[in-house]
């Protein structure tokens, strides 16, 4: 008999690198951006500035975590900015009409869930493309916010506890940042270590296979939009608490930031592949780029262009460098 030999086994280190390539690449990019702004500005790498970035960026991070679940199912939620604005305005209106902030917050979380469920129902049970449903949602919900506020900003008065949520600190760390980290950790655990997380990945990877092994595929798809709605409610409340007012013009361009963070973090728009850790790094990267460019006194009009270009480049490099196993389309 011929003398057969076995292939050399890949070392664990190589396997680990392969499995985590996407997260590593965004981590490197994040560190590079940090270094860049540290070198070119005096103020970037100061505790005050960094804490400010995480305080202002908390809503993006929170919604990006939920958006990761949505995109994992090969969906998209374009309405997040509008939901945030609607919740933001509604919360201010309720408090202006004598509701206390705790009741208001609970009602707003429920409202976010209902809005998300409605979108999810059209997408999963009626089979309308997520892009279309949430594009319509984006217009409708921002419209409602404009309609009920008539375009005015509504001040929130005498809600010390509420303001603490947006402006306070715990052990020197801004409360919104703590909340955002908490949400990210919970999202991370749900995605990796729970049956629900596994179901989300399965549905995004192969919807029909998930259905055939008895998963409630439609409900799972529907649920991620509900989570997105709830995350938007938290974000809307945090923004209201930080600014002390509610406005239909809150969170303009928010969906762009959130989706960019998720995609930059290596989550595939085709579904099935992604990570919360990547998303967190992606969100932080987007936030420091925005902040760093302002500190460099780049024209705010240029900021948008630069952000867009950087995202395109990063994602392009991501697919080029780590695209070996990258497949277009999926097997039914």
């Amino acid at each position: 008999m011929a003398n057969y030999t076995e292939r050399a086994k890949q070392s664990h280190a190589v396997e680990w690198l392969n499995d985590n390539a996407q997260v590593l690449s965004i981590a490197l990019f994040f560190i590079a951006c940090m270094g860049f702004f540290w070198a070119l500005t005096d103020t970037f790498m100061t505790t005050g500035n960094l804490l400010n970035v995480v305080r202002q960026g908390a809503p993006v991070l929170i919604v990006a975590v939920a958006m990761t679940f949505v995109i994992m199912t090969a969906g998209i939620d374009l309405a997040v900015g509008s939901i945030v604005a609607l919740i933001n305005a509604l919360a201010a209106i309720l408090m202006a009409n004598g509701f206390d902030w705790v009741t208001t917050s609970v009602m707003m979380l429920a409202a976010g869930a209902v809005v998300g469920l409605a979108q999810g129902w059209f997408i999963s049970f009626q089979g309308i493309a997520a892009f279309i449903v949430t594009l319509a949602g984006m217009s409708i919900l921002r419209g409602i916010a404009l309609y009920i506020t008539e375009g005015y900003s509504i001040p929130i008065k005498d809600q010390a506890g509420f303001f603490w949520l947006g402006r306070g600190t715990l052990a020197g760390i801004p409360v919104p940042a703590i909340l955002a980290v908490l949400v990210a950790i919970i999202g991370f655990i749900i995605m990796r270590n729970t049956r629900y997380g596994r179901q989300v990945v399965a549905v995004g990877s192969n919807l029909e296979a998930a259905r055939r092994v008895g998963m409630p595929a439609r409900w799972i798809v529907c649920s991620v939009y509900m989570m997105s709605g709830i995350a938007c409610a938290i974000a809307g409340l945090l923004i209201a608490a930080r600014l002390g007012s509610g406005s239909s013009n809150a969170a303009v361009g928010f969906e762009m930031q959130v989706i960019a963070a998720v995609v930059l973090g290596g989550t595939s728009l085709m579904g099935g592949r992604g990570s919360i850790l990547g998303t967190a790094l992606g969100a932080l990267t987007i936030l420091i780029i925005g902040n760093g460019l302002i500190l460099m006194h780049v024209s705010p009009f240029l900021t948008q262009i630069v952000t867009g270009v950087i995202i395109l480049l990063a994602v392009w490099m991501n697919t080029r460098l780590f695209g070996a196993g990258f497949k277009l389309g999926k097997k039914g």
Binding site: D19, I189, N206, A209, V213, G214, G272
Partner: protein
């Protein structure tokens, strides 16, 4: 010709109650008549070959048994009890397992996760990854399937390895009815032998096996009965002991 004869009739191979019995199953996709009234019995401890040309309706019929497709009309009886499947879960909970022709694996989930897809083990609120890995190793060893790394995503595996995982998934959770839709199409010699011996082993335990395959030599090695489909109907049924390759080929091609 009587109505029953048109549906291909049914020879009862023994007197036991069938594990699954289908009567006059009809299913149309839009205007396409995929199944035009099919009768089929799956007996315990028996391997039934479901044969036929491409697009004859074999996969569609097997998906009716596994609850994946809901027939437009006709009855499904499981162990003497008439059932109305509303989805794959109903069939799975009656221990009807299926290896799908397209395998139905999730590419982005690892081998362990695919083996336990839809029946994950939990420890408290969390997945019990350790227990699943240990049991997955046992499952694959029992079937003599060699996969170097069970935490590798399935997209990185070869076609045959993927097929082996789909088979392991269906065979490892005590099925009473095991449907295999072309399970060996991508397998090498030794792996095909392993699947055939698996079929013999589960048959001995009283499992009813439905084997869909284009490899007729395998049919003669492990199957007891063959049902031949043509254009959405069952045209014939033969005991393997009473037939030969030539007759089967003629039945499949309609004698052209």
């Amino acid at each position: 010709m009587s109505e029953t004869a048109q549906r291909g009739g049914a020879i009862p191979p023994n007197s036991a109650t069938p594990l699954v019995s289908l009567r006059d199953i009809r299913l149309t996709f839009g205007s396409h008549q995929a199944l035009r009234g099919v009768d089929l019995d799956v007996m315990p401890g028996e391997c039934l070959a479901l044969l036929g040309d491409n697009a004859a309706g074999k996969s569609t019929l097997s998906k009716v048994i596994s609850g994946t497709y809901i027939p437009d009309s006709g009855t499904i009886t499981v162990q003497g009890e008439e059932v109305r499947f509303t989805g794959p879960n109903d069939a799975r909970s009656r221990n009807i397992e299926m290896v799908f022709q397209d395998l139905a694996l999730c590419d982005h989930i690892d081998v362990v996760g695919n083996l336990f897809l839809g029946r994950e083990l939990n420890k408290g609120p969390f997945l019990d990854q350790k227990a699943m890995l240990a049991r997955a190793q046992e499952m694959l060893e029992a079937l003599e399937i060699r996969i170097p790394r069970l935490t590798a995503r399935v997209e990185k595996l070869s076609g045959g390895q993927r097929q082996a995982i789909a088979i392991a998934r269906a065979a490892s959770f005590q099925p009473k009815v095991l449907i295999m839709d072309e399970p060996t199409s991508a397998l090498a010699v030794a792996e095909v032998e392993a699947v055939l011996s698996l079929i013999n082993r589960v048959k001995a335990k009283g499992v009813g096996v439905v084997l869909i395959t284009h490899r007729l030599q395998d049919v003669f090695r492990v199957c007891d009965r063959a049902a031949i489909m043509y254009e959405g109907t069952k045209v014939a049924e033969r005991m393997i002991a009473d037939t030969n390759l030539e007759e089967i080929v003629n039945l499949i091609t309609g004698g052209h």
